[in-house]
């Protein structure tokens, strides 16, 4: 069921087009991510949903009702700010109670709901502290509790993990998913960090230059990028541009590369091959599709990355292997992959 439907939303700031006719549907109860580099318009879209900005054109509906006609303070939409924006002169419990007091709920109910949400985020012991007496992770929990306690229809999270150090991040990641599952509120997270988006969200909208490039589940985005931008932005990819033929993708200077069937022959297209799909083998006659020389081997523990220089291709080809790499810098290797492991992206650049 669709909760939010965004239709043809555009927003310009002077000469800059922040949003260019964006269409999106966000479903009830899902964990949705807006992903893109800085300046792609994701923050503007978030501010439009929160009511801090109005689009120049287009409509935003929540449950079929016009959201844009409702002022910010009356929307059933809450936002967890990137900077948390906690009120520095109020204790943790006052911060959390602030939104409920605005609804003029009975005091007993406010106390009960504040207590319950603080317990959920594990801050019962810190209820009377001021924000400056808390750690970064604790402040974030307060910000989250303050937004969740309102039981909004839609919860917006602006770069929720960016200010946390690595260990707290993964902890918070799990907590966000658990919380979303528990409260059943629709979450929309805005982030430039693809790992954050991939690990949290059910569906991701990849944005670039004010437009939505692709909306899909994380696995589909990764396996089947539909635009060159997505292919290059999500994860590492080896990209080749060429013409589609019956046997694969014909690339100038490299020959015909294995590519999945199904695209129209004769058109130009971009082939994306994941590093972990690439096989390296000994150079024997007839083996492999490309010849390369190992330039660099980096060991990351669980995986190793091998960078190869391939004559005729201007960028290094990246291969990932489990555990230690079995090749050394300077070695000549044969590079190959299965046609079905690669993705063909049309139209190309």
């Amino acid at each position: 069921m669709t909760l939010i439907s965004i239709d043809g939303v555009s927003r310009r700031f002077g000469e800059v087009t922040a949003l260019d006719s964006v269409d999106l549907d966000i479903r009830q109860g899902e964990f949705f991510a807006l992903l893109g580099p800085s300046g792609c318009g994701k923050t503007t879209l978030l501010r439009i949903l929160a009511g801090f900005e109005q689009p120049d054109t287009g409509s935003v509906r929540l449950d079929g009702a016009d959201l844009l006609a409702i002022p910010a303070h009356r929307r059933p939409v809450n936002l967890m700010f990137q900077s948390y924006a906690l009120f520095p002169h109020m204790s943790v419990e006052k911060n959390v109670a602030y939104g409920l007091e605005r609804e003029r709920l009975p005091r007993a109910e406010i106390r009960e709901r504040v207590g319950a949400v603080l317990e959920t985020v594990g801050l019962t012991a810190q209820a009377r502290r001021r924000p400056h007496e808390l750690s970064g992770g604790q402040r974030q929990r307060v910000a989250l509790a303050r937004a969740v306690v309102k039981r909004p229809r839609l919860l917006l999270l602006d770069e929720p993990l960016s200010a946390l150090d690595k260990q707290v991040r993964s902890e918070m990641q799990l907590e966000l998913k658990r919380l979303q599952h528990e409260v059943g509120i629709t979450f929309v997270v805005v982030t430039h960090d693809q790992e954050e988006a991939m690990s949290l969200a059910d569906r991701i909208a990849v944005m670039n230059g004010g437009r939505v490039e692709q909306v899909d589940a994380p696995e589909d985005l990764y396996e089947r990028p539909r635009t060159p931008f997505v292919a290059g932005f999500i994860g590492a990819n080896n990209l080749f541009t060429g013409r589609v033929t019956g046997k694969g993708l014909e690339v100038d200077g490299l020959g015909v590369l294995p590519a999945p069937a199904g695209s129209e022959q004769g058109g130009t297209a971009m082939l994306a091959v994941r590093p972990e799909r690439i096989r390296l083998g000994p150079v024997t006659a007839g083996e492999g599709v490309l010849r390369g020389r190992v330039v660099d081997v980096s060991f990351y523990g669980g995986v190793s990355h091998v960078a190869l220089s391939v004559p005729g291709h201007d960028r290094a080809v990246l291969a990932a292997t489990q555990g230690r790499a079995r090749v050394e810098a300077g070695a000549e290797v044969a590079v190959s992959w299965d046609a079905d492991d690669a993705a063909l992206v049309t139209p190309p650049l």
């Binding site: 303070h73 809450n78 936002l79 924006a85 906690l86 602030y98 939104g99 001021r130 400056h132 309102k150």
Partner: protein, 288 residues
């Protein structure tokens, strides 16, 4: 640890002394010493032709309780307080709007606020006499409307207007810097949580700008309380404020000890205020 200090520590201390020394020296000679003299005069008798006779007495302080003088002190505090309150009511909206202007208009507005300071204080005060006298433009306007003439000059109202006019910028500037420093996201957070703009102002903007409010109030109240030129020119000498009293005791009545007691009373009120302001600022600062 040996008693000998490493050379660089000694050098650092000498350097600090060299930089702070002149300023502290000036303050010691021209502020602390006179202040100590004033303090010591309070317990001695007056000389017949001015000066001090060094016979200890407490009568200067008992004289302060005389309703004649107490009324002047209370009346002065009242006028200064009214001035401060009006300055706050006028200054806060002004400062708030300036803080939300685009950057280049902020500069223009701030310069406009400070502009009157470029003209001599006495000239500006005389201008008020011209404005407020019975034939002045204000009364002409009132007459034309059939409301006047009204006695404006030489009233408490004229004194308050003069003080307000003189010290309003001292209210606006600290308020501006307090409001300008506030994170605009706090206002957005408040709206996002369901607060109307008025509620956001009372619950978020005002409490967080309280240090600026207190600074502005002290900046206006202190010079208003001690001022003796405006009461004389615009009050016509009918209303005496503490400042006039202090001056008269020293220069006309030549009663230095009692003048010192009055000065001390003013200083005591101000020191109390400064402590209150520092306490509130620290309290708010801890949260921010």
């Amino acid at each position: 640890m040996t008693a000998r200090q490493p050379a660089h520590v000694v050098g650092k201390a000498a350097g600090r002394l060299a930089t702070m020394g002149p300023g502290f020296g000036f303050l010691t000679v021209f502020l602390l010493v006179p202040l100590a003299l004033v303090l010591s005069y309070t317990v001695f008798r007056r000389g017949r032709f001015g000066g001090v006779v060094y016979e200890p007495t407490g009568e200067n302080f008992t004289r302060l309780a005389d309703p004649l003088y107490l009324d002047v002190v209370v009346g002065s505090v009242k006028l200064a307080a009214i001035t401060t309150l009006l300055a706050l009511l006028l200054g806060y909206p002004t400062a708030y709007m300036i803080a939300r202007l685009p950057a280049r208009w902020k500069v223009v507005a701030l310069v406009a606020v400070v502009l009157p300071f470029w003209t001599n204080f006495l000239i500006r005060t005389y201008a008020w006499i011209v404005l407020l006298n019975s034939e002045g433009p204000v009364n002409s306007g009132l007459k034309a409307l059939g409301l006047g003439p009204v006695e404006l000059l030489y009233t408490d109202g004229a004194i308050v207007a003069g003080l307000l006019y003189a010290y309003l910028p001292l209210m606006i500037l600290p308020l501006y810097s307090a409001v300008e420093r506030l994170d605009p996201q706090l206002r957005e957070a408040s709206a996002n949580l369901g607060a109307r703009p008025a509620r956001t102002f009372w619950s978020v903007t005002l409490p967080l700008s309280l240090p600026g409010v207190l600074t502005g109030c002290v900046f206006v109240f202190v010079p208003s309380l001690g001022n003796f030129v405006i009461p004389e020119l615009l009050g016509g000498g009918r209303r005496i404020m503490v400042g006039n009293l202090v001056r008269d005791q020293f220069l006309k009545a030549r009663d230095w000890p009692f003048g010192s007691v009055l000065a001390l009373a003013v200083i005591a009120v101000l020191v109390l205020l400064l402590f209150a302001q520092a306490w509130a600022a620290r309290r708010a600062g801890r949260g921010a």
